[in-house]
């Protein structure tokens, strides 16, 4: 895998060498021409005298001046052309550089996705193999089927995230905000999420001042809440509590999701919102995921005109994600 990635970088670096050669060739040519024009007047005088044309001093001065003028004109035009060449080379190089970064991102993506997709696939397959080969009693069959189902759910979520990211990159983020009561929305969503995380003993606690109107796309809001709560449950660990809090802050409604996990451990909170970026600590690497959750949250929230921030170093430890949506006080909630 690594070797192939390096090849990709080789391929995009090759044009750089070609452009280097072009610039070098141009520089040599320009120097030679400047030299030629600088001595044009003198050469003409020499040739005319050699051809037997006697020249007066005034004629000599005129010829030398004409040569100088030609050189000035040439240096000006040649310099301009040189600038154009340099500019186009710079533009090409910049795009090549971008290609290199893209190639590297692609490689990260492939390696993260390979691991993340293959692991649940492998365990689901072994669970099913074991049952098919009659290696399980009734109790174990139940347990294996439940676990295989969880593996498939994990796979399904990952595939959805990847497809959504792809759609976002291709056609932008498409949200249809409407006036909604985030308090009611959140309660309904959390009920569903509660069932999902119950098996691992994760409790979700909600703190809300009551009805809070905001302009949100209900489906997008559900996804944002799901991703943040799943992250918090993942890093908080089995048996932990995820704290969800709603509040009003001027023209925004604020949603905060907090866990009591290990925190960001030095990771840059802004970089974590980029696609396929995960915290660097090995402890974190062992948690499932490809690094798309926060990216999707950021894109959806920004499409609403809101913002995302992450914070750790809180008393009691853990990480707090804070997202804002435009408030819709005074408007009527959609039915």
């Amino acid at each position: 895998m690594k070797a192939r990635g390096d090849d990709a970088e080789q391929v995009v670096r090759r044009p750089l060498r070609v452009y280097g050669l072009i610039v070098f060739f141009y520089a040599v040519l320009l120097t030679w021409w400047v030299y030629f024009f600088a001595h044009l007047g003198e050469q003409l005088i020499e040739r005319m005298e050699a051809g037997g044309t006697p020249l007066s001093d005034a004629q000599r001065v005129t010829l030398v001046d004409a040569g100088d003028e030609a050189m000035r004109m040439f240096v000006f035009e040649g310099g301009f052309l040189g600038l154009l060449v340099l500019l186009s080379v710079w533009l090409v190089m910049r795009s090549v550089q971008r290609e290199v970064v893209l190639a590297r991102q692609q490689r990260n993506f492939v390696s993260a996705v390979t691991h993340e997709l293959r692991s649940p696939l492998a365990s689901a397959r072994l669970y099913i193999d074991s049952i098919l080969m009659r290696r399980t009693d009734e109790r174990k069959t139940d347990r294996y089927l439940r676990h295989a189902r969880q593996d498939l759910e994990r796979l399904g979520r990952m595939v959805e995230d990847i497809l959504l990211t792809r759609r976002m990159a291709e056609s932008g983020v498409d949200v249809e905000p409407e006036v909604a009561d985030l308090d009611a929305q959140t309660r309904a969503e959390l009920e569903r999420l509660h069932d999902l995380h119950e098996e691992r003993g994760v409790t979700i606690a909600l703190e809300s001042p009551g009805p809070l109107l905001a302009r949100v796309d209900p489906i997008a809001y559900g996804q944002v809440l799901d991703n943040l709560v799943s992250n918090a449950a993942k890093y908080g660990g089995d048996g932990s509590t995820v704290e969800v809090e709603l509040s009003a802050d001027g023209v925004f409604v604020v949603l905060e999701v907090r866990d009591h996990g290990p925190g960001l451990q030095g990771a840059d909170p802004l970089r974590l919102q980029e696609p396929f970026v995960r915290g660097g600590d090995e402890q974190v690497r062992t948690r499932p995921g490809v690094g798309l959750g926060l990216y999707i949250v950021r894109e959806l929230v920004r499409a609403h005109g809101g913002d995302v921030s992450l914070e750790d170093g809180l008393p009691g430890g853990g990480t707090r994600a804070r997202v804002t949506f435009p408030a819709a006080a005074g408007e009527e909630a959609a039915a």
């Binding site: 390979t114 293959r118 193999d129 174990k140 402890q283 690497r285």
Partner: protein, 231 residues
């Protein structure tokens, strides 16, 4: 056959559970460890008969675990289980001293067959060789038990694979042993990406044992087939 102790080093809880359950069902005793560093300590302490080792692990990656163990002279058989299945990763795992390599997802039956095959090879290695405990080639003496070559007062350590290749050849002196036979004996079936990999090992063995590696006197290449040892 049964009763051997296996260690499963895998951080994915589901995968570790279902692998351990099935290996136990085969009659082996199984210990599960979910962290690379911890695995290293447990392997040193428990000396299992086989380690099933994931590559991407918290604490320390599987390649480093394998490399560290081999560096300490441990000969515990290692079967890599990993989601990385690029050819480079396979080769790397085997060159670091891994015995076999299984890419996720894999068949339950295949896993069990491979575990059996490795344990059987282990038995072959531990069993007394019909060729004796040592092989003498000129003034060099290869000790199958300590994996060393002694030439006069100079002594060089061989890797486990190098020793096993020599032993495989020495058990049939004068006969042609095909590359496929060597691979099957020493690594197990279809492990290597190419049979030519055996050649790399032979090159190093010749450098150690032959007075003139360009004109071998002991380890001969039989074109298109394999190798022949003439002590």
């Amino acid at each position: 056959m049964s009763g051997e102790s296996l260690m499963v080093v895998e951080d994915e809880a589901h995968l570790a559970e279902v692998i351990a359950d099935n290996l136990e069902l085969e009659g082996w005793s199984v210990e599960v460890v979910g962290d690379g560093k911890q695995a290293l300590e447990r392997i040193r302490a428990a000396e299992p008969d086989l380690v099933l080792l994931d590559v991407m692990l918290p604490g320390m990656d599987g390649f480093t675990v394998c490399e560290t163990l081999r560096g300490e002279g441990s000969r515990v058989p290692i079967l890599f289980l990993t989601a990385k299945s690029g050819r480079d990763d396979r080769v790397r795992g085997l060159q670091l001293g891994g015995d076999d390599y299984l890419g996720k997802p894999f068949d339950l039956e295949e896993l069990i067959l491979r575990v059996r095959a490795i344990l059987r090879r282990g038995e072959w290695e531990r069993a007394p060789s019909p060729a004796g405990d040592a092989l003498t080639l000129g003034d060099a003496v290869v000790d199958f038990a300590t994996y060393t070559v002694t030439q006069g007062d100079r002594s060089v350590e061989l890797t486990q694979k190098e020793t096993m290749i020599l032993r495989c050849l020495a058990e049939q002196p004068g006969a042609v042993v095909s590359r496929a036979d060597i691979v099957e004996r020493v690594w197990g079936y279809d492990v290597f990406p190419t049979l030519r990999t055996v050649d790399n090992f032979i090159v190093r063995l010749r450098r150690l044992l032959e007075p003139d590696p360009r004109n071998p006197r002991y380890i001969h290449t039989v074109r298109g087939t394999g190798y022949r040892l003439t002590p």
